[in-house]
């Protein structure tokens, strides 16, 4: 079965673009337009990977990442952000680690990050970029 990827972003256009991109590369995509919706899907459907925007109104990407990493077994996370900082890296480490990508990203880089994240699922280790 194709790995299931949960894509989270409050920007519908980006959500749709990522869905189309990842579907091309053989992933089954679930989408959520808010952090709260994402957590609901996480709990209900246990996807294999979460790709989430970091800055969202309400429940943000960090909370989604935390929830994903608290699952048993922990779900790998790719975080997209327009503004990478050391503090953000530290926060991601604190919630259990995530791969992060800066906006704007090349599609190839997104696909690569997804692959690495899914690969880490088996090894258990997750490194930030």
């Amino acid at each position: 079965m194709n790995p299931r990827v949960l894509i989270v972003d409050d920007d519908e256009d980006l959500l749709d673009t990522l869905r189309r991109l990842l579907e091309r590369f053989g992933y089954t995509c679930l989408t959520a337009a808010s952090g709260a919706a994402a957590i609901a899907v996480l709990d209900a459907l246990s996807p294999d990977l979460v790709v989430t925007d970091l800055h969202m109104p309400g429940t943000d990407g960090l909370a989604v990442a935390r929830r994903a990493r608290q699952a048993v077994p922990p779900i790998p996370v790719v975080v997209i952000t327009a503004y990478p900082t050391r503090r953000m890296e530290q926060e991601l480490q604190a919630v259990g680690g995530a791969i992060h990508l800066s906006k704007p990203f090349a599609n190839a880089d997104m696909v690569d990050a997804v692959r690495r994240a899914l690969g880490s699922r088996d090894s258990g280790a997750l490194t930030t970029r």
Binding site: D11, T17, R20, K103, P104, F105, N107
Partner: protein, 491 residues
């Protein structure tokens, strides 16, 4: 007691009292004392028999003896009376000042038989006078040496006094100012309001700053104007008083304030730019991803229905927007790392990314990297950004290809510093461009952001270093970066 006796007694008492107080003495023409009053004895601290018969010169210090002798010898028929101030020795060795009034008594042949002398001690008077003179000199010194210019103006608006600072501040000589209307020191347009202010001030004079909230200008002799700060004070006299104006040239301060405002404005601009950049990055990301997707899909179709060239144009422009946003972000970014950094590693890491692209553009890279250099304390990423910026600029200067030379070495003129040189064989720059090279948003390239060198120079400055550009049209450009290094023990 008869009346006569009473008068005699009173007289004697009176004389006793007055004689007692005053320093009375009589001496012969040779100066030997023949009579001294009780007061005289007490003053000199000696018994009468110690004084009588001795020369009055015995009680005069050496330095004044010639003076006193000359004075005594000068008394005669043509000059029967005289006055002299001189020092005397009282007691054991105390020196005091003495003013004497001498009268010569002559015999029938007009020869001096006796000199009668009345004297007073004037030591305290002289000291006070000297102190006043001193104080006067001190006050004058203060006045002249004041950092502020001081102008005294009378009720009619005429300058009555100035200090040296005013002369140098306004370029006039004292005699050109004293007696003139004070309005000559302000610009013509301000003269009428100034005169009005002045009359108003004399109505209710008090110490206060002048022209609060107004920008006051002074006018020099050569017509040039400069900003001043003035505070006023008032000195009353019999003629309606003098207004004292303390004038400070604040050109320097105004300049510094302008510079600070400029820096603050740049900082605010940087923050604004960064904010905009972040906002822009989001939609740019979506656009780029989507176009890439569309290009992928177009590439898979046999006869592409989607307009590939149009998409490629859109993609190029979106990438350019992204670069601009990146440049704006760097412009505002302030937090930098602080670690030991090896210049050679910076060059090698940057070339890892850049070399292929440069060689593809027909650029040859030649390096001369001295190893074992002292390390620099700073941010490797930022320094790589600077080098990358210089390399890309060099490439843009050589559209037909050329050579870039990169060198690292200890800074030749500065011990404790290292040097990075990036030189190209490109088209070079004219002096007008070279002058504006480091300005933000200044660019000669159609697709340039004008931020690369501005950000680079900021980064270098933040590292405590300096960068210089030398260029000649047709001959190429050389950038030399000097950075302070850590002492060898620290790394």
């Amino acid at each position: 007691m008869s009346d006569e006796e009473k008068v005699r007694q009173d007289d004697a008492q009176y004389r006793a009292i007055t004689e007692d107080q005053r320093l009375l003495s009589r001496c012969g023409p040779d100066g030997s004392l023949s009579f001294v009053s009780d007061g005289f004895c007490r003053y000199f601290g000696r018994a009468r028999d110690e004084l009588l018969g001795r020369s009055l010169l015995a009680f005069v210090p050496d330095e004044d003896r010639a003076l006193v002798r000359k004075h005594v010898e000068s008394l005669g028929p043509t000059n029967p009376a005289g006055m002299l101030e001189h020092r005397v020795i009282v007691g054991d060795d105390e020196v005091r000042w003495h003013r004497r009034f001498d009268q010569a008594h002559l015999d029938a042949q007009d020869r001096v038989v006796e000199i009668e002398s009345v004297a007073r001690d004037i030591t305290d008077q002289r000291r006070v006078a000297a102190e006043l003179r001193n104080r006067d000199a001190t006050i004058r010194a203060f006045f002249e040496s004041a950092a502020e210019g001081i102008v005294g103006v009378d009720r009619e608006g005429r300058i009555v006094l100035i200090n040296a600072r005013i002369e140098s501040m306004f370029g006039y000589r004292q005699d050109e100012l004293v007696g003139q209307r004070v309005e000559m020191l302000v610009p013509e347009r301000s003269r009428a309001p100034h005169a009005r202010e002045r009359t108003e001030y004399f109505r209710r004079p008090r110490a206060r700053p002048m022209g609060l909230g107004m920008s006051l200008m002074g006018r020099r002799k050569d017509g040039s104007e400069f900003p001043v700060e003035v505070s006023l004070s008032f000195v009353a006299d019999d003629d309606g008083g003098v207004a004292m104006a303390f004038v400070t040239d604040i050109s320097d301060r105004i300049n510094k304030e302008r510079q600070v405002r400029h820096v603050e404005k740049l900082a605010a601009l940087g923050t604004l730019a960064a904010g905009i950049a972040h906002e822009i990055n989001n939609p740019i990301g979506v656009i780029l991803s989507r176009i890439e997707l569309m290009l992928m899909e177009a590439g898979e179709q046999e006869s592409p229905g989607l307009p590939v060239t149009d998409l490629e144009v859109l993609q190029r422009q979106a990438k350019r927007l992204s670069r601009i946003a990146q440049g704006l972000l760097s412009f505002g970014r302030h937090k930098r790392e602080s670690r030991p950094v090896d210049l050679v590693e910076i060059v090698e890491d940057t070339l890892l990314i850049a070399r292929k692209q440069l060689e593809r553009d027909g650029i040859k890279i030649v390096t001369s990297l001295e190893t074992g250099l002292a390390r620099v304390l700073g941010d490797a990423t930022a320094l790589e950004q600077v080098l990358m910026n210089l390399l890309l600029n060099a490439r843009d200067a050589m559209p037909e290809g050329g050579t870039i030379r990169i060198e690292t070495s200890p800074a030749p003129a500065q011990p404790g510093a290292v040097q990075l040189v990036v030189a190209d064989t490109g088209m070079g720059m004219v002096p007008e461009v070279l002058k504006r090279l480091w300005e933000p948003f200044f660019t000669t390239k159609a697709s340039g952001t004008g931020l690369g060198l501005s950000v680079s120079s900021t980064i270098i400055r933040e590292h405590g270093g300096a960068v210089r550009a030398v260029s000649e049209p047709g001959k190429g450009t050389t950038f030399t970066i000097v950075l302070p290094a850590m002492s060898k023990d620290a790394s």
